[in-house]
């Protein structure tokens, strides 16, 4: 038993040292490296000092458009800092540069024939609604402005 164990141990050590022999030395380079050794700086204006003013009217508009509440001071601060973050590209010269809406702009969008290809799935679709009445979705009264 002991002999078996020691034999096994020997095998393990042997394979381990083999592995080590082929292990790459990450400090050792053959060619002068093409990788820059110090960070390449990119200059972006500091926009955090410019105060972002959002008036109550705009906040109410955003809440109406988004249908989520901007209730806390923290949420407002995050919104402001996100806008400052977005302002960082304002200085980049984009004259005569067209917006890139899709990377597939060279490809014509394919339209399919206006034919029904699937259906008969009313039950499967309606099962995801929390409230239904017969085959209808149910919603509370409309045309009432959001309470703000």
């Amino acid at each position: 038993m002991l002999r078996l164990l020691s034999k096994r141990l020997y095998c393990k050590i042997a394979t381990k040292s083999n592995e080590k022999a082929t292990k790459l030395d990450f400090k050792q380079l053959t060619h002068p490296t093409k990788v820059p050794q110090t960070p390449v700086d990119a200059e972006f204006p500091d926009t955090s000092s410019s105060e972002i003013q959002i008036d109550t009217k705009t906040i109410q508009l955003l809440e109406r458009l988004s249908l989520v509440d901007l209730d806390s001071e923290r949420a407002l601060a995050t919104l402001k800092s996100s806008i400052q973050f977005a302002n960082k590209i304002a200085h980049i010269n984009t004259e005569h540069v067209r917006p890139l809406y899709t990377v597939l702009e060279q490809q014509q969008l394919q339209l399919r024939n206006d034919q029904v290809t699937e259906g008969d799935c009313r039950a499967e679709v309606l099962r995801n609604a929390k409230v239904t009445d017969e085959d209808y979705y149910v919603s509370p009264p409309g045309n009432i402005p959001l309470e703000q």
Partner: protein, 508 residues
Amino acid sequence: MRRHIQWSIKQLTASYSDGQLSPRRVTEEALQDALKWKTLNAFVRLTPEQAAQQAQESEERYKLRQPNSDLDGVTIAIKDNFCTKDVHTTCASRMLEDFLPPYDATVCSRLKQAGAVVLGKTNMDQFAMGAGTVDSLYGPTKNIWSEDLDKDHWRIAGGSSGGSASAVAAGLCYAAIGSDTGGSTRNPASYCGVVGLKPTYGLVSRHGLIPLVNSMDVPGIFARSVSDCVAVLNTVAGQDQLDSTTIRKPFTRLNLPEVRQIDLSTVRIGIPKEYHCHGLSAEVLETWCKVADLLECGGASVRQVSLPNTAASIFVYSILNQCEVASNMARYDGIEYGHRASDERSTEQLYALSRAEGFNEVVKTRILTGNFLLLKKNYDQHFEKALRVRRLIAEDFAKVFDSSVQEDRVDILLTPTTLTEAPLYKDFASLTNRDQCAVQDFCTQPANMAGIPAVCIPIRLSRAGLPLSLQLMSNSLNEQLLLTVARWIEAQVNFDSLEHTQEYKKSL
């Protein structure tokens, strides 16, 4: 540890063919392992019944010697933002907690058609908005390479597809599907030490992938080797009638040469200097230098190139992401599907409360900011401006890949993926969501701006024993060369994605 976990997909399916292993046994064991590794929180939902059924059918096909494909009987996991017929698809959000899709995403239907066994749905940041898988309704996903999984000393898996990366890294499945909008596949692949592929935009259908940023989203692939990754790509890629943004050019299946047949002498590698940004760790830098050197020793020409608009990319990404999120999230109102609040005073009131309850703070802030940037007075100076800078970023790539001057052209770009090894949860969680994404996605999101393919491959372990990875990028639809070079590097560095497991360590 189960020995077959170390096998490639090819070896696994060969063992099915000769009867050595059976899809049913492998599936049962995988489901057991998934439960055993519950602490990782890789899965938000296992689908044992469906998996057993698929494994049974696969087994019958092998008995008849008629497997459907190279993936028949192979266990896979799918991120929880891909619709799966009759299996809950939640985006790890309260909003979609009860959502039961009536159809399969194209990626899922193609995998099922190929005979793959779907084990379940994996964890993610809510609606894929994050870089850590820390903002999930189901709690964070842990990195299996962590020094300690129990106390607060564990590492994040990365995100947003952290569950898929974690599942593959732990050997719970052979491959997994994620999504990649700004790095959500490559970032967790980097931290978890597995291969993560972001294919060319439009190569793989987005039908049934719940959208984040439509113009950048792509399904991503996780595997433990480049060739396994190719097997999955060959199954899911190609035009789809149900997604008009898929590329119409017919997809040719990739067929990678054997490692010893790979000739690098015609391959030109570019090192984009701007990818050495602030915060890049010394170990990642050292790894980057070494692999560039290996490629040069292997006969490739390696030179420095410049992509001058790189640093603008995180700002552009942030703007476009928030704008598209504001628009995409408008569909969640609690009426047809999704969380419905109990406020019945008015339609608007119901919408507002359902959304307030169904979305987390990250989602809400992105919607509000997006709508601010899209206001009539801001639209041109923010949204359109970002789209113009996006073109500059895409043109940077075009200049190095398609330059009219032959000598200026490169085929492949070699860069870091993430700036560091996987951070500790407690350190990562102390940052804001925007900083989490902006810092760690620096090297990954430019590829999404341009729609080009990119792959993250693990290279070695850091001093702390965590995976360090690098990224390769190439021109659109150049996956064949991209993955050939990845495979060559993989063979040189000999990284073992499963070296972490406790059992494995004991068996040494």
